[in-house]
């Protein structure tokens, strides 16, 4: 498998390249299809977790025949241990706006919205001012595109794209059935591109420097770099932009405290990788993808507590709509409690793993589908800690 060494880069937050209006000027002179081809060519995949190729998403939306289309920037950032989007919006919001405007130009949307996590409302005033200015500037360029901002309802599930649309429309934030996908029927049931904050920043970069520059970093399946939120048992918690495709052992060497026993890659809904797998684990779409969260656990941590916290989180944050997730999360939680207390035999864990796998294939959205990731990886690797 193709590997890269751990390399810190400085693209996202680099303000020397922040002449966003110049990027915009240059881009809107081009043919939208060509711009989309560049994005496809760059290999950029969504940074919100699912990793869908951004250029394709735009192309599908552009191909939809509709007067009204939307661009949505997903800034709900609810995954525990993730705080990179907040940093981006705080430090380089114009890059995000530019990405949105380019998207609007490419797909033929006149309206864009930022869906901002409720807890980030302290950014709201400042962002609004900057958005007003940006809107004015692009209008002067003759680009018919306006950005608005919506404050989220404070639920993790509202980060899921279709739940986000429901929430924006004023309803309970609950995922919809798919298909139809957002590219066909998203916000207000109109064709919509929804991208993560970080994805949109890389779009600005690709438009400024060209796809080849972007492709210099990363691997065949994971082009470019990515912002990671490092937390847990680490002397250097914080935000780091790293080239994609590094092996986990190098990451642990750099950020661990010397006693790392496991890394939770991708937040609560991600995978738990134990020490013995560090060498063979690649951080990227070909290995273990992540929305950005890297939680480091050292040997003093109880993995039972870690799993218990995750399950409590899911039991509370499930939207409650579908049976596998609404009831299943709670059963997993109560299940490991019962095994810990000796009320049920350790073999019950096998039953629970099967339940988690059923949730993976039968739940309605990514939340319920991904509970098996932490559950099964922690049970498999730290079974003893769960039982005793």
């Amino acid at each position: 498998m193709e590997k890269r060494n751990l390399k810190k880069v400085d693209i996202i937050f680099d303000i020397s390249e922040c002449d966003y209006l110049a990027v915009l000027d240059k881009t809107i002179l081009r043919d939208p299809d060509e711009v989309i081809l560049d994005i496809i060519d760059s290999g950029l995949k969504g940074r919100g977790g699912a990793g869908f190729p951004t250029g394709l998403k735009w192309k599908f939306t552009k191909n939809e025949d509709s007067e009204i289309k939307y661009v949505i920037c997903n800034a709900d950032e609810g995954e525990p241990g993730t705080f990179k989007d907040r940093e981006i919006l705080d430090r380089v919001p114009e890059k995000v706006f530019t990405g949105m405007a380019i998207c609007g130009f490419c797909i033929g949307a006149k309206e864009g919205y930022i869906y901002l996590r409720g807890e980030y409302n302290f950014l709201l005033e400042e962002l609004k001012m900057k958005i007003d200015l940006f809107n004015k500037q692009i209008r002067e360029k003759g680009l018919e595109f306006t950005i608005g901002i919506r404050s989220g309802s404070g639920a993790y599930i509202c980060g899921e794209e279709s739940a986000l649309f429901e929430s924006m429309e004023g309803y309970r934030g609950e995922p919809r059935n798919k298909p139809p996908y957002p590219t066909v029927a998203g916000y207000n049931w109109k064709p919509t591109v929804i991208n993560n904050v970080e994805t949109l920043v890389y779009v600005s970069m690709i438009c400024r420097l060209g796809p080849d520059k972007f492709k210099e970093l990363g691997t065949k399946d994971s082009r470019g770099s990515k912002v990671f939120s490092v937390s847990g048992d680490t002397p250097s918690a914080g935000i780091f932009e790293l080239e994609l495709g590094m092996p986990l052992n190098e990451f642990v060497e750099e950020f661990g405290d010397g006693d790392t026993k496991a890394v939770q890659v991708g937040g609560a809904s991600g995978h738990c990788v134990p020490r013995k797998q560090f060498n063979e684990t690649i951080i990227g779409f070909e290995g273990i993808p992540t929305g950005g969260s890297m939680m480091i656990f050292n040997s003093s941590r109880s993995m039972y507590n870690v799993l218990h916290d995750y399950l409590e989180f899911f039991t509370e944050e499930s939207c409650g709509q579908c049976t596998p997730c609404r009831v299943g999360c709670q059963q997993l939680l109560k299940g490991i409690e019962a095994v810990k207390k000796g009320e049920r035999k350790p073999a019950y864990l096998e039953e629970l793993k099967k339940l988690a796998l059923t949730m993976k294939v039968a739940a309605k959205c990514g939340l319920g589908q991904s509970v098996a990731n932490p559950f099964n990886s922690i049970i498999d690797n730290f079974r003893e800690e769960i039982i005793y």
Partner: protein
């Protein structure tokens, strides 16, 4: 508050746009090849080749377009080759080349796990649950042969909510959202919706308040569609049995028109069987002292409501600017609750005539009590209704006198069926019997009160003849009949065109009300019924489990009974004529006004939306 139904309209339009393209789709289901139109779901496609995929949250009232498919319960999941995850058959549209497995071992295991999860969070109350035998969850558990639940986490516990008409036992809620769809999309009442998150999610009024502090109309449509015992009617059979057992009480019963067209279903008779005579016989065997007919009171309603229509019309034609038109019917208490809650500024537009149930009660406790020489308090009036709103209606303060209600108890069709079963009466082999006098005689016009369009047709039959002094050339107004949600027709009153509107379902009523509010209504008279199909689809009727053909059969039966009746116009009912002669005087007269008319309240102040 924003109602979900608006969104659904957008979604339906979206689907319609999609469907314009009438492409044919070829796919394989369980090794059988078939072709379907674009837009058809796997569930529908499988049905066409005889494969029944089990469902739970899915609900579809056929051509009425009342549909619930949140894809939430996940009982209907199937395997589609090439996809990692299973897909819900109820919402997944067929696509070209799809290869679907509806019952392979992977699917069966997932379904069983999902069902076990639902059951793991459900009280095992079946022995004493009023839905037992009708519960869709129970029958799935039976079908899947569930003998043990492998998961033993917690069960969610909620406060029980008891209102005059409906009991919410939400521990039994499986979050199918059917009630939410009915209450929001169809009725636009916005009472029930999903609240809380995660394991605590449940369907409830805002802030988990009780129904009686909400804008609930007690239409009971949520109860009609609830697959489990989470929503049921307030059961009054015990109180009725107690009254029957009390030697000091004389117990009178009245039966609403729609009951006779549905009661038979509870005893295995085909939908649409008319069981009027058997019902009377059964009620007599149960020990009711007098078996009367709400149809009698429906004729009385027509006398009052028809006269009111004519009165307003005449004044309007004379140029009186204060007269309110269109006149709206008022015989449906679900509808009355609706406008009191949602259109309080319009409470002076509906007719002031009481519903037949309450007219009956008022006359029974005065005229009848006198006639048989009893004091009001010794007379117990029970009504058998297709309706849950009537349970609330009879508790309204204005319908009582010195604390004694005009109607003491309203039982649903379902409760009556249970009573008959409890008493071990062989219903299907009963000989037909007739109603008692003097409140048992009725016309065909009264019978059709049971279906949408019936009240206004009955009113037209009488108003026409009273207005023109001529005999109607033809009694069947086909143009007023049917199941379309909003209908309109113009009836020629001997040169005077009377424009009539009809709506059933409160969401459809809302449309007509908005028109009136905006001053755009072209109607002289509008009939409104809260339930789909009118009372034949009432909240107290035997469960249809989404079978629209049952509603159609009931409707047909109602019109047949009308045809069969020797009397077909309310004003020709001799018992009604006698009642006016002996007791009431004239329609809209002083006595009638006192006993047969009511007034409405602005109820917006009664709603509590937070603790």
């Amino acid at each position: 508050m924003r109602l979900k139904y608006a969104d659904n309209v957008i979604f339906r339009n979206y689907l319609k746009d999609q469907a314009k393209n009438m492409e044919q789709i070829a796919l394989t289901i369980d090794n059988k090849k078939l072709t379907v139109e674009k837009g058809v779901t796997i569930l529908q496609a499988a049905r066409t080749i005889g494969i029944e995929i089990p469902t739970l949250c899915y609900f579809n009232l056929g051509d009425l377009q009342i549909e619930n498919k949140p894809g939430g319960c996940r009982i209907c999941v199937v395997e589609i080759e090439g996809r990692k995850n299973l897909a819900p058959a109820c919402v997944t549209e067929c696509a070209t080349g799809m290869v679907v497995h509806t019952h392979n071992i992977r699917v069966l295991n997932a379904r069983r796990t999902v069902l076990e999860l639902i059951l793991s969070d459900h009280p095992f109350d079946c022995l004493v649950c009023s839905k037992s035998g009708e519960c869709e969850l129970q029958s799935l558990a039976q079908k899947f042969g569930i003998r043990e639940i492998h998961y033993q986490g917690e069960k969610s516990v909620y406060r029980k909510d008891t209102s005059p008409a409906i009991i919410r036992d939400i521990d039994k809620c499986i979050m199918c959202r059917r009630c939410e769809m009915m209450c929001n999309d169809f009725q636009t009442c916005g009472v029930l919706s999903a609240i809380n998150r995660g394991f605590q999610s449940v369907v409830a009024p805002a802030f988990e308040m009780n129904l009686d502090h909400s804008t609930c109309t007690y239409c009971g449509q949520c109860v009609s569609v609830c697959p489990t015992g989470a929503l049921t009617e307030q059961d009054h059979t015990r109180s009725v049995l107690n009254a029957l057992a009390d030697p000091t009480k004389t117990v009178v019963v009245q039966t609403a028109p729609a009951v006779r067209a549905a009661l038979g279903e509870a005893f295995g008779l085909p939908a649409g069987s008319l069981v009027t005579g058997k019902m009377v016989a059964a009620l007599r065997q149960l020990g009711f002292d007098y078996v009367f007919d709400t149809d009698f009171a429906a004729d009385l309603t027509i006398m009052e409501e028809g006269s009111e229509l004519l009165d307003r019309l005449t004044r309007h034609l004379k140029g009186d600017p204060h007269v309110k038109l269109p006149i709206l019917t008022s015989c449906c208490p679900g509808w009355v609750n609706f406008f009191e809650h949602h259109f309080p500024e319009m409470i002076d537009i509906p007719s002031t005539a009481k519903s037949p149930q309450q007219m009956f009660g008022a006359v029974a406790k005065t005229y009848l009590a006198d006639k048989i020489g009893l004091k009001r308090k010794d007379l117990v009036v029970v009504s058998i209704m297709p309706c849950l709103a009537k349970k609330y209606e009879c508790t309204r303060e204005e319908f009582s006198s010195d604390g004694n209600p005009d109607v003491d108890y309203a039982l649903s069709t379902r409760e009556l069926a249970n009573l008959i079963k409890q008493a071990n009466i062989g219903f299907t082999s009963l000989e037909d019997e007739n109603f008692d006098d003097p409140m048992g005689e009725s016309s065909g016009a009264a019978v059709i009160f049971g279906t949408t369009g019936g009240v206004i047709e009955a009113a037209v039959r009488t108003a026409y003849e009273l207005h023109t002094g001529k005999e109607l050339p033809k009694l069947d107004f086909e143009e007023l009949r049917g199941l379309e949600f909003v209908r309109s027709a113009t009836v020629d009153f001997d040169g005077l065109p009377i424009r009539i509107g009809i709506a059933h379902g409160l969401g459809n009523a809302r449309k007509l009300l908005e028109e009136i509010k905006a001053g755009r209504s072209r109607y002289h008279a509008i009939e409104i019924m809260a339930c789909p199909g009118g009372c034949i689809g009432g909240g107290g009727q035997p469960y249809t489990h989404g079978d629209i053909n049952i509603l159609k059969a009931r409707q047909k039966a109602i019109y047949e009974e009308d045809k069969r009746k020797p009397l077909r116009k309310s004003h020709e009912n001799p018992s009604i004529q006698r009642l006016y002669e002996e007791f009431l005087g004239t329609p809209l007269g002083e006595m009638s006004h006192h006993l047969l008319h009511t007034h409405y309240f602005d109820k917006t102040g009664e709603v509590i939306i937070s603790e």
